[in-house]
Structures are given as structure tokens and as C-alpha cells.
Amino acid sequence: MISTQILVSLAFALFTDGLVGGAVDFVLDDLWGTALELLAALTGFDILALPFMQRAYLAAVCIALIGPLVGSFLVHREMAMIGDTLAHSAFAGVAAGLFANAVSPLSVSPLLTALVVAAVAALLVQALVDHAGAYRDTSLAIVLTGSFAVGSVLVTATDGGIAVGISAYLFGSLATVTRINAALLLAMSVVVIAVVAAAYRPLVYVTFDEVGARAVGLAVTRYSQLLAVLTAVVVVAAMQIMGVILVAAMLVIPVAAATPVRGFTRSIAAGVVAGLLSTVLGVTLSYWYDVAAGGTIVLVAIGIYGVSKGAVWANHRISLGDI
């Protein structure tokens, strides 16, 4: 356990100072920073030039890309609840990270511990779902509440110092997106997009017709596990801004808003667009009115969902000749 922590710290030192650090500077400052400063100059939109808002917008774009991308598979497999469950496991992971930092001299990023715990929980949930069959709601509820219980015990096990840090993860905050976290988020997003691209066809097959997929010889269990772990990564990535309690929304609401679009691949693209509108608008409004980013993003997303449903309804009325 200690040796893993040392390894993680060592990896982190390399990450911040070494080659990777150079790449992070290049992407965050030279590419993204310059682009947004240019946009700020062109549009007169000053907040785009603020470094911490630049990181928040980077997180917003990443979340909007990977949330609906993975969420499309979850929603159409009727596994939307798994996002919420893994978010609560990630909370336990964050608490474990903060706890380790408080009681030992090591410094571990809570995001990394969250990632590990959520990924393990993802495999556990998948195993429970596979074995329990019809009782999948029960197994999800046990893992969900169980991890939140572990988290709350860990938070209160110290003298209260980490209770302050934890609330930023519970409700999300623009300020939690440090340079390191922005870089981690970007790396996780690249991994998620690459893995989904590589496994896109079997994932579509398994989502649409699980038994048919098994009959043609696809490793359905493996792909289900992959989807669960991808969900864990998305949840941890999005948690900093969205907060543990609301993070599952980005897996579900943009996907639901995009459901009227014809074609599964096109509906994913539409979900990403809905996600981008929600997060970018949400982050902006959250800064202007100084309210919670996660909540603002979710409210914007629900608004977009409402508009989408309204458009379908109006279209239906027109085609019926009522209007």
C-alpha cells in the first residue's frame, strides 16, 4: 500500500516536472490558452482570457464530449443508474485520497484514488449484475449506498480538516480545475474517445441486441465490463465541475435530448452538441451569477431536453395538420 503511494507520488512528480509537464504546458497554454485569448480578443468576451476559466472551459468541452458518448450506450442499455452508482464510488475514492493525504506525509491526487476506486466498483457492479440477473437495481443500490457510507466514514475519521475539501467534490466547483486536474481530465477524455472509437461496433451491437451479439460470438461480458469502466472514467473526469451528486446527469440528459434524432451515430453527435451547449453555457452562467457550476449545467441541459421534446411535439402536431 505504502509502496503504491510512493509510486503514485513519483509518477506525479514526473508528470508535473518531466516530459509530460512540457506537453501539458504546450496544450494548456500554447494551444488552448492562445486559442481562447484570440477568441476573447475577437469577441470582447473577457472571461475567456482568465486562466482558471480557460481550464473550466476545457473541462466543459471534455465533459460534453465524453459524457454523451458513453452515456448513449448506457441509456439505450437501460443502465443509466450505473453512472450515479459509480459517482458515489468515486466519492469514496476522493475521501480515501484526502484521508491518505491527511494521515500520511504523501500527497496523492484525490482524482487518481477516485479513478481507481470507481474502476474497481465498475467491475464489481458488473459482476453483481451478471450474477444477480433480475435484481440489478438492488445490487446497484447496495454499491451506491455502501460506497457513500465508506466515503462519509473516512471524511469524519479525521479531525474534520478534509470535510472542507470534500464539499468541492460533492457539489463541483470551477476552482477545483487546477492545472494538474485539467491535464488529467484531458488525458482521460482522450483515452475514453480512443477506446470507444476502437470498440464502437461491438458496443453498438451489444447495446442493441445482447443475445444476438452473444450468438455471433462477441464477448458480451467483456464489452459490458469495458462500458462500466469507461463510465467510471467519465464520472471521475466530470466530477470536478459537476460534483458527485449531479455528475450522472451528463451521461443521461444530453442523450435523452438527442433521442429524437434518427440514426444512432447521429444521435451521439447530437448528444455531444447538446452537451456542449449545456456545459459551455452552464459554466458561463455559473461564473456570471456566482452559482454552482454543476447545478447550472444540469438546469441548462434539462432546458435543452425540454426544447427538444417540445420540438418533437410541435412537429407531430404540424404533421397531423392541427396547426
Binding site: 439505450h76 450468438a215 440514426g263 444512432f264
Partner: protein, 245 residues
């Protein structure tokens, strides 16, 4: 050559076997109707036949290989019971589903001209060209069944396994669906069909297997109607089938 060889197969979910000591062959090019009362193990036997389940004892071979280890999955087109009615909210189109037929051979990488042609040919073959860009969830039950058949054809399947495909499909669509199966069978496709309507089975298939845990009959539809296999398999509930008006 036999497409499927079932040898003394027994399978139980708990202690009581649902399939017990069943043996028969399905020749390539056959159109087999699997009949039996509700809960007689038809679906389980079909799943054993295409390797989705491993027999507790006995063996199943599929095109000469053990069915559970069968590697060329795309040779089998399986349409599970009610699958056509599930997932109606997924915004997937007919063409996207038929393209899945090619996925086992092409899990990554661009579709070749041959892949695209196979997809379009399959869509045309089952007569759903005008529906290709429609959402599968918006189609009628009969149209959806054709989408699944097209997916199997796009994968150049040699065996089609269908579990009560026309449940909830209106009589006219049902008739034309079975005509299509008949034509595909004439073209060389092996078909295994579970169907509760004995009339449909005796008119469209080339052989019948009658099951109620054990195999009661296997042979031609003509011989089937001459025997008491049906009455034996249905046991005491036989009087429910015949109505005197």
C-alpha cells in the same frame, strides 16, 4: 452434411431437466419447425443448438464443430424471442442494424465495397429498401422481423434460428414473412424456427421436431400429422387446442 447434430443432450436450470436426452440431426438446407407446449424447453433447446448454452450432458455440434466453441459466429443469425419488440427507443436506423451483420468480420476499419454491397443486397432481398433510413423502433412487428433477417443475410449466415418471430404480427404480414423464409430456404439457407402455430409449421417447414422436455417426434410434416406425437407431447392439455364450434 449435418448443419446441427444434437446427441443425447440434457440441460437443467435447477435440478429438474428442461431438455432431457434429446438427439436429432438438422441437415444443411433443412427448414426445421420446433414445436411443443409452453415451457417444453423449445427456447432452451434452440439456445443449446447454436451454442449459447452448454449441455449438462451430451453434445451439440454446429457445422462439424462443438457448438459452444463455434468460432464463425457470423454464420449464425439468431433472432431471440421478443428482441424485435425490445429497445424501441434506441434511435438506430434499419441500415445501421443491417450493417451489424458485417461487424463480426469487420470489428474495426472501414467497410469495403463488398461489405456495403452485402448490406444493400440484404435490405433489398427482404423487401425493406424503402424503410432503410427509418428508425427500427418505429416499424411494425413484421417489418422489424425482416430487419433482423436482413442482418443475418448481410452476414452471409448459413443458419437462421428464429424464436417465435411472428408473435404480435398481423396475419397478412405473417403470411408474407413465412413466404420469405420459404424462399430463403429454397435458396439454401438452413432455418430453425420455434412457432406455436402448428398450422404454420406443417405448411412451411420441411421437417418437424416435437418437444416436451423429451423429443416426441422428428420427421416430415406429413408424417407428423399422421402420428399422435402432438397429443402425446401436449399430454392432458390437448383438448385445449381443439375447439368444437
Amino acid at each position: 452434411m449435418s448443419a446441427i447434430e444434437v446427441r443425447d443432450v440434457t440441460f437443467a436450470y435447477a435440478s429438474e431437466p428442461v431438455v432431457d436426452g434429446v438427439s436429432f440431426d438438422v441437415e444443411e438446407g433443412a427448414f426445421l419447425g420446433l414445436v411443443g407446449p409452453n415451457g417444453s424447453g423449445k427456447t432452451t433447446l434452440l439456445e443449446l443448438m447454436i451454442g449459447l448454452r452448454r449441455p449438462d450432458s451430451g453434445s451439440v455440434s454446429l457445422f462439424g464443430e462443438p457448438a459452444v466453441d463455434f468460432a464463425d459466429g457470423e454464420r449464425i443469425g439468431y433472432v431471440a424471442q421478443d428482441v424485435a419488440n425490445a429497445n424501441g427507443e434506441m434511435p438506430i436506423t434499419v441500415r445501421e442494424v443491417v450493417r451489424m451483420g458485417r461487424y463480426p468480420r469487420r470489428l474495426v476499419g472501414c467497410f469495403s465495397d463488398a461489405d456495403r454491397r452485402a448490406v444493400e443486397d440484404a435490405i433489398e432481398r427482404v423487401g425493406i429498401s424503402d424503410l432503410a433510413d427509418r428508425r427500427v423502433g418505429r416499424l411494425s412487428g413484421g417489418q422489424r422481423q425482416r430487419v433482423f433477417i436482413a442482418r443475418a443475410l448481410a452476414g452471409e449466415a448459413d443458419l437462421l434460428a428464429l424464436d417465435e418471430p411472428t408473435t404480435g404480427v398481423d396475419a397478412e404480414s405473417r403470411e408474407s414473412f413465412y413466404d420469405l423464409l420459404h424462399e430463403l430456404n429454397d435458396e439454401g439457407l438452413t432455418v430453425v424456427l420455434i412457432e406455436h402455430d402448428i398450422g404454420v409449421v406443417t405448411t412451411h417447414t420441411t421437417e418437424i421436431a416435437c418437444l416436451n422436455r423429451e423429443l416426441y417426434f422428428h420427421g416430415s410434416p406429413e408424417a407428423f400429422v399422421e402420428t399422435d406425437a402432438l397429443a402425446d407431447a401436449y399430454g392432458g392439455s390437448q383438448h385445449v387446442i381443439h375447439h368444437d364450434h
